[in-house]
């Protein structure tokens, strides 16, 4: 039997199990902590920092921090939400995000979070970064203008022999996602579809697939982000 751990999130007490992360514990209890790079079932990469919460007064990423008995966690505070908004804002000026022309519009986590945090016009100047699109893989288009370098694909999509299909090259703001050109040729339709679905934005697009669900009927078109698994209190 696993050990029960008691924590509080925004002054409400919750019970969870030892070994869970703060994020998992929150979700188990119907508490929404905003995330972007996190994907259920993949080891957290902790790259986006959107899930930052205050743990006993100290900022920590909820997706990588395990719970401990008596932890006091602040999550839905104006300061933290302002910080999350700033991080989303940074992503919008860093990449080239044109929602109206994006296949993922309406199912995009970045766009949905921007709506949630009421991001209007960014306060920072756009980078207008030059990013190349890679359309050479037979089944995929890698649209780097939209990539937020969350590394979900890096962590989750592998070739049959276990080798990495996706990897980030360079560093700093020159960092970019790459797909292995040889291995990309071996990808099945299912794996290509999985890669597209795992991408939180429109950076991995399956060829011949983009607009199968019309705009207006997509995930976040009907329900904003953050209410999917929330329980009414």
């Amino acid at each position: 039997m696993s050990e029960t751990v008691r924590i509080s999130i925004d002054a409400k007490e919750y019970a969870t199990e030892k070994g869970r992360t703060i994020l998992e514990a929150a979700r188990d209890n119907g508490v929404y902590i905003p995330t972007l790079c996190y994907f259920d079932g993949i080891a957290p990469t902790g790259t986006c920092r959107v899930c930052t919460v205050n743990v006993n007064g100290r900022p920590m990423a909820a997706c990588t921090t395990p719970v401990a008995e008596g932890m006091t966690i602040e999550n839905d505070t104006p300061e933290l939400n302002e910080m999350r908004k700033t991080i989303i804002e940074l992503l919008f000026v860093e990449g080239n995000h044109f929602c109206p022309s994006c296949e993922k519009s309406g199912t995009c986590d970045l766009q949905a979070l921007a709506y949630r945090f009421k991001l209007m016009a960014p306060r920072f100047e756009y980078e207008f970064s030059q990013r190349d699109l890679d359309a050479t893989p037979p089944k995929l288009i890698i649209e780097r203008n939209r990539c937020i370098l969350c590394k979900r694909c890096v962590k989750a999509i592998f070739a049959d022999d276990g080798k990495a299909l996706f990897a980030v090259s360079n560093r700093g703001n020159r960092a970019m996602i790459n797909i292995d050109d040889k291995l990309a040729k071996t990808m099945s339709d299912e794996l290509a579809e999985k890669a597209m679905n795992i991408c939180p934005v429109g950076a991995i697009i399956k060829k011949g697939k983009g607009f199968s669900t019309p705009i207006g009927k997509r995930k976040y078109d009907t329900k904003p982000i953050g209410i999917e698994n929330q329980v009414s209190s």
Binding site: T86, I87, F124, N170, N178, I179, D180
Partner: protein, 602 residues
């Protein structure tokens, strides 16, 4: 020289974990790591091409295209700038006919800028084919380039050798130690092997007690209690365990580890063996920055000597079961690898990206095994403490900062160099010591760019953990300097060196860098100041690693402590000014169609 990458891989057992060594060797032999070789290496180590490429492309000293028969890496740090780097760079361009960052048409000379190479007391300095050239002038550049054209060997271009071990046959470098002040710990009496002989007569737990009682704190800058760290690791059941020495010294303005590596390597290796004895590790790895490769043969010889003297290897000092040896792992140019978990990642042949914590390295470090990572100076202190006792160490320095600290002082002062001081001296005392006139000092950067910019009003405060903690970097900035240019240089450094994993660091440093440039160019507004402070705060709170958390410090600490440098160039009624320059944006198209633009209000 032709070399087969397959052979290089075989040399390291086709082990993916030795990718840094493989890539370093291929880069050294071929002058680059071409795509075809990346394919060969990937196949040999059993990984995909993108997997190898992610490591290759991460490090500054790896390149897919040739960087010239002679590759010049000219330091671009603030201190280099202060010492005339611009004129030297121009001389290199003029003499070679090439431009930064690129190779001359004939492929002879490559010119590249690089981050601080640990020579701040003798700038401008450059690394040319792994040899260091210090105190460069346009005249010296002229003769260096002439030598290159005459196909002279780099070793033969070095004129006078420096002092101390720099002159030894195995180093032969023009580097100077510039040891200005010797203290009792690092430069005090030291008998090689004394600490290890004491260890041999004590239980590991007892040696740990000595380290704990000494109140030794990590010398890399963060100041974590060393005894506590080693105790965490000692308690772990998993094995094998590892001891890492962090010799990545990348914080601009610091060069004290370079001097330790040159003059006190035995003390450092001995300290590592002490740590190994305490935590139960048999393997030590020195992660040495590529910039210090010129010390390689010398350090290998020291290790060989210590093995021959039974101070490393099996049954050290005759103690059965006391086994410890050291290997040197070279980096390849990445500031972030000075962060302990990034250092471990790099040593495993990966990108130098900091890990999520927990688990901490003491629990799961190198190869997920318990690992101790400490700074060069920390190991030296540990060796001396075991020999001379905790009491002795605590009697030096201040209550919170026991012992001595090596300071690397550079910038606008008469006597740049290495100073071993007792912790707790004031900034003003430090300036006196370094031969800087207080009235001629605008500010002091303590702890490097990630530290604090200290204003004259705070010169009575102390250097040490009680106030201004530092890994050793101290840059004195004279009144005639443009401090905003210094801040911009620091922010460019962080933007270039960000590993790129965390959004607030990757994107935030670049945005801050651009905003500082905008302000420097006279286009700043009061709104920009508020945004900069907010960004620095977001970075501090949300970035994963200590380096990312402090990357906004050059801006935040100057806004806080040196506000006038901003007020001087920002008009108080300007809440908003666009950074976008319409005139320059349309300049090219106007020139093409032969139109003279007319802007509103002009």
């Amino acid at each position: 020289m032709s070399i087969d990458s397959r052979e290089v891989c075989a040399r390291y057992g086709n082990d993916r974990l030795r990718l840094m060594d493989i890539l370093n060797d291929v880069q050294a032999a071929k002058g680059c790591i071409p795509d075809a070789d990346i394919d060969t290496i990937a196949e040999a180590v059993g990984e995909s091409r993108v997997d190898v490429d992610q490591t290759v492309s991460f490090y500054h000293f790896f390149s897919k295209t040739p960087r010239g028969k002679y590759t010049v890496y000219l330091n671009n740090s603030t201190v280099a700038q202060m010492n005339g780097r611009q004129a030297v760079a121009e001389a290199f361009e003029k003499e070679s006919g090439g431009t930064f960052d690129g190779v001359t048409g004939d492929g002879l000379i490559g010119l590249y800028s690089t981050a601080c190479i640990g020579m701040s007391d003798q700038e401008p300095a450059a690394i040319i084919n792994n040899r260091v050239f210090t105190s460069l002038t346009p005249e010296k550049v002229q003769s260096i380039v002439a030598d290159m054209r005459a196909a002279k060997a780099v070793d033969d271009m070095i004129g006078d050798y420096g002092d101390g071990a720099n002159r030894s046959d195995l180093i032969k470098a023009m580097v100077h130690n510039n040891i200005r002040k010797k203290g009792e710990v690092l430069f005090g009496a030291f008998e090689s092997g004394a600490a290890l002989r004491k260890c041999a007569g004590m239980e590991p737990g007892k040696v740990l007690e000595v380290i704990k009682a000494s109140n030794l704190r990590g010398r890399g800058g963060a100041g974590f209690p060393t005894g506590m760290k080693w105790e965490f690791c000692a308690r772990e059941a998993a094995s094998p365990k590892y001891v890492f020495c962090n010799a990545d010294e990348g914080e601009p303005g610091t060069f004290k580890d370079r001097v330790i590596l040159t003059e006190l390597p035995r003390m450092m290796f001995e300290g590592m063996a002490v740590a190994g004895y305490i935590v139960g590790a048999e393997n030590g790895i020195v992660y040495l920055r590529a910039e210090y490769r010129y010390l390689e043969h010398y350090l290998q010889k020291v290790l060989d000597d210590m093995r021959a003297q039974n101070l490393l290897g099996a049954n050290i000092c005759g103690k059965k079961g006391f086994k410890f040896d050291v290997r040197i792992q070279f980096g390849a140019g990445a500031y972030v690898c000075g962060e302990e978990s990034a250092l471990i990642e790099s040593a495993e042949g990966k990108r130098g990206e900091p890990r999520n914590r927990p688990p901490f390295p003491a629990q799961k470090g190198f190869l997920d095994k318990p690992t101790v990572v400490n700074n060069v100076e920390t190991f030296c202190c540990a060796a001396q403490i075991v020999d001379k006792g905790a009491e002795w160490f605590r009697s030096l320095g201040s209550e919170q900062s026991a012992g001595t600290k090596l300071l690397s002082i550079s910038g606008d002062c008469a006597k740049p160099g290495i100073y071993e001081v007792e912790c707790g001296l004031t900034v003003a005392e430090m300036l006196d010591m370094a031969g800087a006139t207080k009235d001629a000092v605008q500010a002091v950067q303590i702890g490097g760019p990630s530290g604090t910019c200290v204003a004259p009003s705070d010169f009575d405060k102390k250097i040490g953990f009680e106030c201004y903690a530092t890994g050793g970097s101290i840059i004195i900035i004279g009144t005639e300097r443009n401090l905003l240019s210094v801040v911009h240089n620091f922010m460019e450094f962080f933007a270039d060196e960000s590993c790129g994993a965390c959004v607030p660091c990757r994107a935030g440093t670049r945005v801050m860098c651009n905003m500082i440039k905008k302000i420097k160019d006279g286009k700043g507004s009061t709104g920009d100041i508020a945004v900069l402070l907010e960004l620095a705060d977001v970075m501090k709170k949300s970035n994963k690693c200590g380096l990312g958390q402090t990357a906004g410090n050059p801006v935040a600490t100057t806004i806080r402590n040196m506000r006038t440098i901003y007020d001087n160039v920002i008009s108080s009624d300007d809440m908003y000014k666009p950074g976008f320059d319409l005139e320059s944006a349309v300049e090219e198209s106007c020139a093409v169609v032969g139109r003279t633009p007319h802007f509103d209000g002009e």
